[in-house]
């Protein structure tokens, strides 16, 4: 027997950490989604798809601005000392991923706005003729257009990666402490973004392309999940215990059912048929991918808070 009794019972800490509720997983999902959307939009711009007026690179930044604003609002909702939030922008703490994130989120806005000016929505162009002029100038300048595409890709990647580095940095929480978490979040962000753009895209050829790309992202996601689990079970005891949380522990059922089957395998099969023109493209597969991406963030955030270093010191007694 090795029994540990602790007299402490601090709210949100004991018996297991529960400092972050629904706001943080939803924010991480939106951050990953916008990061993925910026990567896709930047790629479309750099590959010259801007000539196509239906190109989703014109719609992505508009959706992106709303999504990231909602995410930032949720982040704000989660703060316990809200009136002091401005302290985030008085310093840049280079060792703190959260500080990096705060500044990345601020830089994201002008990039998304620049992306919007690539082709202003018609009514905005009429109402703001001066802005329309700038937009036309940018359109005619291939260097600036490409620069916007490149910035979109770089900062989209940073945004997607930071949402995971924020968590994997916490070595005190073994279930988060994986060097692969950021690749999982970027891939999942890309797959959710491809799914969303597939849902709202107007160009059938582009929707077809995104369904194909999404299948690639979904395969990559499965491979990363397997590698992450191998990484955990071949590591120290706390990491083995962390892997057990999703292999046989309290998060196993929701992880395998919602994230793996509903979020990855079933939409992958549906999209295999649709990209091979066996069935028409449906909205159900991308909706499932988005659902799986959201639940993944919930499970990662909750499992990480659940996992901890042992409280007993007599392990080698």
């Amino acid at each position: 027997m090795n029994e540990v009794v602790i007299t402490r019972h601090n709210n949100l800490i004991d018996p297991t950490l529960s400092i972050w509720g629904w706001e943080i997983p939803v924010y991480l999902f939106l951050g990953g989604l916008v990061g993925g959307m910026m990567l896709i939009s930047g790629y479309f711009i750099l590959t010259g798809r801007t000539k196509n007026t239906l190109c989703s690179c014109y719609r992505i930044p508009i959706i992106g601005i709303f999504a990231i604003s909602l995410g930032m609002f949720l982040l704000f909702l989660d703060l316990e000392h809200k009136l002091y939030v401005w302290n985030l922008y008085l310093n840049f703490m280079w060792k703190s991923p959260m500080s990096w994130g705060a500044w990345i989120l601020i830089i994201i806005y002008p990039i998304l706005l620049l992306n919007i000016t690539l082709r202003l929505p018609e009514n905005v162009g009429i109402k703001l003729p001066k802005l329309n002029e700038i937009s036309l100038k940018i359109q005619r300048n291939p260097f600036i257009t490409k620069l916007i595409g490149a910035l979109s890709m770089v900062f989209g990647g940073l945004l997607g990666a930071y949402t995971a580095i924020l968590l994997s940095n916490f070595s005190a929480r073994p279930a988060w402490n994986s060097p692969m978490l950021w690749t999982l979040f970027i891939t999942s962000g890309l797959s959710s973004a491809a799914a969303l753009v597939h849902l709202v895209g107007k160009d059938p050829e582009e929707r077809h392309l995104l369904a194909k790309a999404d299948n690639g992202f979904l395969i990559a996601e499965i491979i990363i999940i397997i590698l992450m689990i191998i990484g955990f079970v071949s590591s120290s005891q706390v990491h083995i215990d962390a892997a057990r949380l999703i292999l046989s522990g309290p998060f196993a059922a929701s992880f395998w059912v919602f994230v793996v089957f509903i979020g990855i395998i079933i939409p992958f099969i549906i999209q295999i048929f649709s990209v091979n023109n066996k069935i028409p493209h449906t909205n159900i597969a991308p909706i499932m991918v988005l659902f799986g991406g959201l639940i993944l963030r919930f499970i990662v955030v909750y499992a990480g808070q659940y996992s901890q270093w042992p409280r007993n010191v007599f392990i080698n007694f």
Binding site: K82, Y84, K95, P97
Partner: protein, 179 residues
């Protein structure tokens, strides 16, 4: 520069919780929260049981992840003997430091900022011991400067066997438990 640390003799601690009550009184710790607490650990098989009772708190780590992760600089290493403190005016309550601490030593104060043990900074600047140390009826807790070779804490660590909590986390904790 001084390096303040605490040495706690687990062979003398009886788990009376006087240190807990003293801390709550001295620091106005709100009801339902603790800056320090008692851990009772039992190992073995009846009748060969071994028990350790320890008074635990923030370890004022030399390599504090709570400080590194803080996005505003609210959590910081103070000039007063390297102790780890939180500037309540800078804290936004993001709780990153709570997630970063492997000892779960921090909590969210009902007023919104993050709070934890301060080694009774207000007392030590006056040359007093922290309230928990001063109140311990078995005198099992010692506070002092590890940089001073004549300090009691330094002498105890030189002469007795000790351990720290979860050294594998790499935080270099500064609460030493004599065994």
């Amino acid at each position: 520069m001084a390096r303040y640390a605490m040495v706690i003799d687990t062979t003398k601690c009886v788990g009376c919780m006087d240190c807990v009550v003293a801390c709550k009184t001295e620091n106005n710790v709100p009801e339902g929260f603790n800056r320090d607490w008692i851990t009772y650990e039992t190992i073995g098989k009846f009748p060969t049981l071994h028990m350790e009772i320890r008074s635990e708190r923030c370890n004022h780590c030399d390599n504090p992840p709570c400080v590194y992760t803080c996005p505003t600089g609210a959590s910081h290493i103070s000039d007063i003997g390297g102790i780890v403190l939180v500037d309540y005016q800078k804290c936004i309550g993001c709780k990153a430091c709570i997630a970063a601490c492997p000892y779960d030593a921090r909590f969210v104060h009902p007023d919104g900022y993050v709070s934890k043990c301060t080694f009774c900074e207000h007392r030590i600047v006056q040359g007093l011991d922290p309230a928990c140390v001063a109140s311990c009826p078995t005198h099992c807790m010692y506070f002092g400067d590890l940089e001073d070779p004549n300090s009691e804490v330094k002498k105890l660590l030189n002469s007795r066997k000790y351990r720290v909590l979860n050294p594998e986390t790499g935080t270099k904790p500064q609460i030493y438990y004599l065994i």
